[in-house]
Amino acid sequence: MKRKHLLIAVSGLGLALLLTGCGGLLSQDGGCPACGPAIPAVPGDPSARPALDPEAIGQPLVRGEHIPGEIVVGYTDEAAFAAVLSLVGGTVRDRFTMGELTAALVALPPDVSVARAMGTVLLQLRRERIPGLAFVEPNYLYELIDPAPTEQDAYLKSVEPAVYDPDADLRPYQWGLDVIGAEAAWAHATGAGIIVAVVDTGVDGTHPDLQGKVVEGYDPAADAVIPAGSDSDFDGHGTHVAGIIAANDDGKGIVGLAPDVLIMPIPIFQPGYVGAFDAAEGTIWAVDHGAQVLNHSWGGPVYSQLIKAAMDYTLANGAIPVCAAGNDGEAWIHFPSAYPGTIAVGATTPQDTVTDFSTLGGWLSVAAPGERILSCVPTWYVQDGTGDPLLYAYWGGTSMATPFVTALAAMLRELHPGATPYQIQKLIEDTATDIEGPGFDIYSGHGRIDAAAAVAAPLPADGAIAYIYTPTASSMDTRGFWLPIPYVDVVLLQGGEVRYWAQTDISGAANFGFPIGSLGAGVAAFFGIEPGTYEVLVGGDDQVMWWARTANRVTASDTLTVGAGDFVEQVIPINTELQVQIDWTGAGDVDLAIWEGYYFGAISWSTPKTGATWGTFSGDDDGADGDGSETYTLNFLHWDNDLYRIAIDATNSTVDTQVTVTIIQNGVTETYGPYLVPAGSFGDLGVQVDWWDLLGGPWVF
């Protein structure tokens, strides 16, 4: 439960301290201690700027638990990786490729924290793009989704005590197969010829019910191939999952839903946790070695660009990722199940209700049996009280529901070899039995799977792929290109429910070996989405500028319509126009004053009376009619070191005025004041607006 509070670290508390701790804003009670008739002195020497702290700048991009001392770099160009390495130091610990994209695991030097490394790269990106760099992120940790607790200390792990004879038929205890119509489905398909990767804790290939079923696998942490038929499980979780999918149909023990599939073990877990790098590496190995369906009974709350890329790679290669929704029991985002194109699976009871631990969300696909599921445990499990081998156990969780859907996907792949992952997902969803709320609901998705119906139904039309680009709309970097805005969230909604969610990467130029994007800007890729019309919302911190300020957050919305089989690229420009406006009451001739290019000493204060150099004033308002308004707009090329300082020039005013200052940037409006501005004063508001600036503003003097 404390997770929720860990995540609050991304809010702008640092800024709050700045705003409240300095007190330099014109006071609102009429006093103006900082004001004087003279134009305030400003530091023209760039060396007088406050030092930047990469650690603080990078901290917001460290969004969850991760392995200390490591970062993951995704790139399509070796030069980009070399540039990152030269920035942060460190050594390459491991790397692998997925299509044109390479992911490298970098061990940082001892004195460089993950946050510092992230901030260092980000600072460079503010200066200029690094072509061919897709992402830089911490090596996030993901959890095994353990069997869900039913009581304070009682887990749903229990055992099959009635029968110790390994020849006994345990099929009567497999309620999940009854509910979804397994026997009827087997008349059509059993998963023959399909390899299913169990990306988990390993699989005990020596288990009596899995003998002959476990093919060669891969341990990404050890970079070692696992021999077919061996025991690679350290925990039991992966063996339990594998049994639900593929246990032999021999009248002994249990039977898997797809008893003729072959299991490829991909043990991504060290005890307890997995790093995103190993999870992705294992996933890519499986896809490259023939896995057509992948079971992911693990996850966490953090969005990882690397795991997203691994899921996209899976989909682009026609393989089907099936992911556990999570055991949070509430509406809580969870990855990889919430990535677009994955089949997210919740858990049900024999009475077709969703279990109380199953995670809810608009991104759910279907639900499947997930409580008191009898399946295999490794042969080395020993029973309390007897010392006998356990062999089988009842476990529960979305981890146990997911392999039912994995098995069904394998059966459908056997029936429809050319179907896309979307078509298989849609077939499973369309034939699911509607439970919980009518139609789609956030508890069960499209309903509880029905294997008998799914294998008998025709293949539906294909889905769509959408690339959403979020470049700046009105600004260019020093080379005159649109600037991509990385790491912002792009969500697709229908009826106010978040259906799909992706983040933009850094470069947008990375094509991941998939359909190549034509625009070199931050891109959020949506694979395998349902045809239809979506509301698209874009939001996030403008990492290219400064993160912790409302005005430096981006927001935009648009509509996306996709048809079956479409590949759509849509640009949603972010309005980054900077506009400053003052409005005042009182019949004084007040002027909005802007120090353009604050650090270029030759440039002085500009007002509507003098005209601007880099922007445009709306015109001089003399306030004679009792109030006034003046606007400054900056809407084209700027120098990348510019800082714009704002003041109120009341030197021409003979009466006191009440002035409100409004700053609009990235589609976000900030209002300051009202300030009481004495006649004849020149008030430096102390508000600075970063504009391609390298400094950690905004500051308040």
């Binding site: 809010s11 009842y394 978040v498």
Partner: protein
Amino acid sequence: MKNLRWTLFAAVGMAALALTGCLFVPAAPTGVIEGFVVDHGAGEPVQGAVVMAYPEGGDIPLYTVGSAYYGPVATTDADGYYRLIVPEGVYTVRAEKDGHAVSVAHGIVVGSTAKLDIILKPVFNPDWPLEPPEVTVTIEGQLVTPGDEIVLTADQLADGLDYRVDAQGPNDIDIIYAALGKTPGAGWLTGTREYFSSTYTTGDAALDPALYGVEEWTTFEVVVYDVNSNRTHLLFPVYLEPHAPPATLDPPTELYRILAVTLGKKMEFYGETMAVPSGAGELEISAAPEGGNLYVELIWKPSPDDTVSGGAGITGYRIYRKLAGEDDYRLIGTVAQGDLGYDTDGDDVDDAYLFRDSSPELSPGLEVSYQIRAYMGNTESAPVEGTTTPLDIWDVRLLEPADGATDVSLTPTFRWQPTKILGNDQYYLWVLWDLALGAGYYLTVDMLNQTEYDFAGIPGSSFERLQPHRVYQWYIGVAVAYDDFHNPTAMSVAIQDGWSGGSIPVVPTLPATDFFTFTTGDW
């Protein structure tokens, strides 16, 4: 007989009983078995459950009073209460209801009145058998029959109380619990108990009686669940040789806390207490039941005679309870010396004792008083005492911005409404999520006795103001009513959706009823 479907009997009534041909008509009965049937899974009283008693290994007794036939069959009322009139003897009590598993309790010794609360869980899979596990128990190497009195010598207990439980049935066994002096269940309320989850047998096991703080007549109890939630409960009266009593004992130094906790969205009767007659007369045995949504938490600091305090030692503490309308305090539980459960000074070392009472007899609005006494042998200290009145259940419903509202102001006023005003203070944690920004962006605000919030923006935060044309979700993440927020003796938790706000003890997650989503309008 145990396999008869009692629902059938309930349907056809006494005529069917008369037809079974296995009746006997004793003299007017003198004993009563009574208690509550509660639904562990949903936490509600089970109304309409059929409860029936029959002698261990025997048939259904019938008897006459005047010209009327009576049988020990009852149907629970809205509170889950049942009452069976039976002759003295040792009974098995069985409870059933459609949609539920089967629950039986063996070894109910009826002198005058025996109290037995029964947990009757919803059935897991209606297609699986409704048969309670068959359980055999050995104590100190002897196969024992429920209800049989067992006297254990100090020599026998020198290496602990040896026992073995074996269970079987048409369904696989899920959990085996065992305990001395209490009905074992989930550790949150039961406290110390033995627990076996991966087996149908405990094998040859032993428990340490000193961890249970009991002496003289008490019970050894076993609870077994199968995977279909069928339950078998067995009681064995046992006698443990008492310690030599000291001349006097000092009471606990302080009753640190008395707090009635009501957990919302469920009913107040929940859990299980137990009283059985014994060879020494009727004994109210300690009872820390399973699960619970109304319980009273008692925390006290050790007696100076406790070895924890450097004293010569005691057996433990006895907890007595008196409900409003009752004349006397009744013994409801014991805690063993040394079984500390609470850290009062924050040094991560437990320094106080903890007992949670979740008897179904606790009720909102019903004053309840407790006494806690140190004891050893037949010497008891003076008590420390406390009184509280539990609060009722309540909930919070959201009003505006309404679910699905569009064109909502960027500085909206949020309004919500309690379904009931409880206590003097209501604490709320208001939560707002920016759905466009995923998991990372939310805002919470603590409020006391406030049912609306004018959102004007939080300067310097990620929520300086709402953004136009964006989707937000809002709800109340924590809602707790207190009799007195600053010095509570009773609280009622309506919502605890996983947030760590407010001064709330650890409670299970209680999700909010309403989650509202709205879209903002223009600037």
